[in-house]
Symmetry: C2
Subunit: 252 residues, 2 copies
DNA sequence: CTCCTGCCTGCCGTTACGTGAGAGTCAACT
DNA sequence: AGTTGACTCTCACGTAACGGCAGGCAGGAG
């Protein structure tokens, strides 16, 4: 079975120019040519192209791909294993970015300020050497920074006032329930956990039960979020944490 | 708080040259200069840089990033939501690639041949229009293709023989158990499910319980894998599927 | 006062193609 | 047989996002 550049390009989802380029640099030269000089690709060429595209998607430079594929000392299974490893690494990285974004969304919602390091932490270059006093000296908590940050994370006036009112109302009700001695997994408290989720969904971002339990964990794990809730009422962070988990389980 | 190029570069994990470049193209111009012409970045600049890097990581061209960030009609919360969406899309894509790789590893293990379309399917350009007779005509099941594929996916002779022997031994034992009427969730059969996992881990790739149950599902969902097991013994595919799930649950 | 480090502005190099230009090719339809 | 339209070929220059170097100030430490 032999294919023209156009056919190969179509099935592989690349342009003809790309195939020309791969031919030029010797990464993928068609196994033959017609008498008129047309490139003819066969099945083995397609297999090679598939490998090439896979490694390309993983971010390898073409030259390196050539080396990897042409390495005679490598067996195909090793290729697959390697790709699998690389993918899981990437996946993990992306998952970190997602949680970082969720963290940032939550922080912005509560108006908690992130330090410059935190902003860049997700990029995986936190230099531990400067994580201490150094950082304090360089980036310290200046008022100007706080102010600029607060402005940057704020809503339109009207929206903001409504969100705040809604939020405070919810806060009053859960504090009242906690004070009344209602257990965190009682129906009324779980309803408030559900409302918590819906407030977030309505005003900020689509919040699944899974995400909400993630947030609940964060409320206990990150002292700034703990402080936020403890500041409303002592024990609220843990109370809310339990209620959210109970609610998520009962709805599943 | 003001920072020099070098300081910004260090904390953000980019090069000085990159910052120069961003200044040149107007993507991120420092808010000021010293009398000597040194660039001075302030906290707002850092925030902008963080946004820039985030969108860059998501694969946006710099020009587009400029447009997105400078859009005055967008509020920060919308930015976060958008990033979150983009990330989850990417994440899904990567997860698909991971399962595709696992599929390919499993296929290579069983020496099942993938069609060219399947090879490229993961790249998300499966043209449904050519998925039928068209495809048959273009890529049909030629012997040459099968042969080249079989060769491409084979091991070193000795390894291969040992894998085969080990695998056949395992096959005989599970067929015997199934014939004896042992339920799929009995300890002995679950032990064989565990052995299945360990054979894969030893010879092919690190196979977690989660991955294994994924494979088990595939054995039922994909007719070629079903055929592979049904060919060994009628009912084996479903039997193994149940055993793997039972084993995974009991080990969790 | 010198030395070392950091910063400045050009400016050319690189990767992985995009985008025509100008010309030959192929299969189909008059 | 001629024409048409889609496809292909080979230059060859353009682009994005920087990397890297040259040649020349800036500024604090000793």
């Amino acid at each position: 079975m032999a294919y023209t550049v156009g056919q190969v390009a179509k099935v592989a989802g690349v342009t003809v120019r790309t195939l020309h380029h791969y031919d030029e640099i010797g990464l993928l030269s068609p196994s033959g040519r017609t008498s008129a000089g047309y490139r003819r690709y066969d099945d083995a060429d397609l297999q090679r192209l598939q490998l090439v595209l896979y490694y390309r998607e993983l971010g390898f430079p073409l030259e390196e791909i050539t080396a990897i594929i042409d390495d005679p000392a490598a067996d195909p299974a090793a290729h697959l294993r390697r790709q699998h490893e690389l993918l899981t690494v990437r996946l993990k990285r992306l998952q970190e970015m997602v949680t970082a974004i969720e963290f940032a969304m939550e922080a912005s919602k509560m108006n908690i300020q992130l330090t410059p390091e935190e902003r860049f932490e997700v990029f995986g270059d936190a230099d531990p050497e400067q994580h201490e006093a150094e950082a304090e000296r360089r980036w310290g908590d200046t008022d100007a920074y706080r102010e600029s940050n607060r402005r940057a994370s704020r809503y339109g006036k009207d929206d903001w006032l409504r969100i705040k009112a809604e939020n405070e109302d919810w806060g009053r009700r859960i504090v009242a329930l906690m004070a009344s001695g209602a257990p965190a997994d009682s129906p009324e408290v779980m309803d408030l956990a559900e409302e918590h989720r819906q407030i977030i969904s309505r005003w900020f971002y689509e919040c699944s039960y899974e995400m909400q339990t993630g947030l609940a964990d964060m409320y206990l794990a990150d002292e700034r979020f703990t402080a936020y809730y403890e500041n409303i009422a002592a024990g609220l962070a843990a109370y809310l944490h339990e209620a959210i988990h109970a609610n998520a389980i009962s709805r599943a």
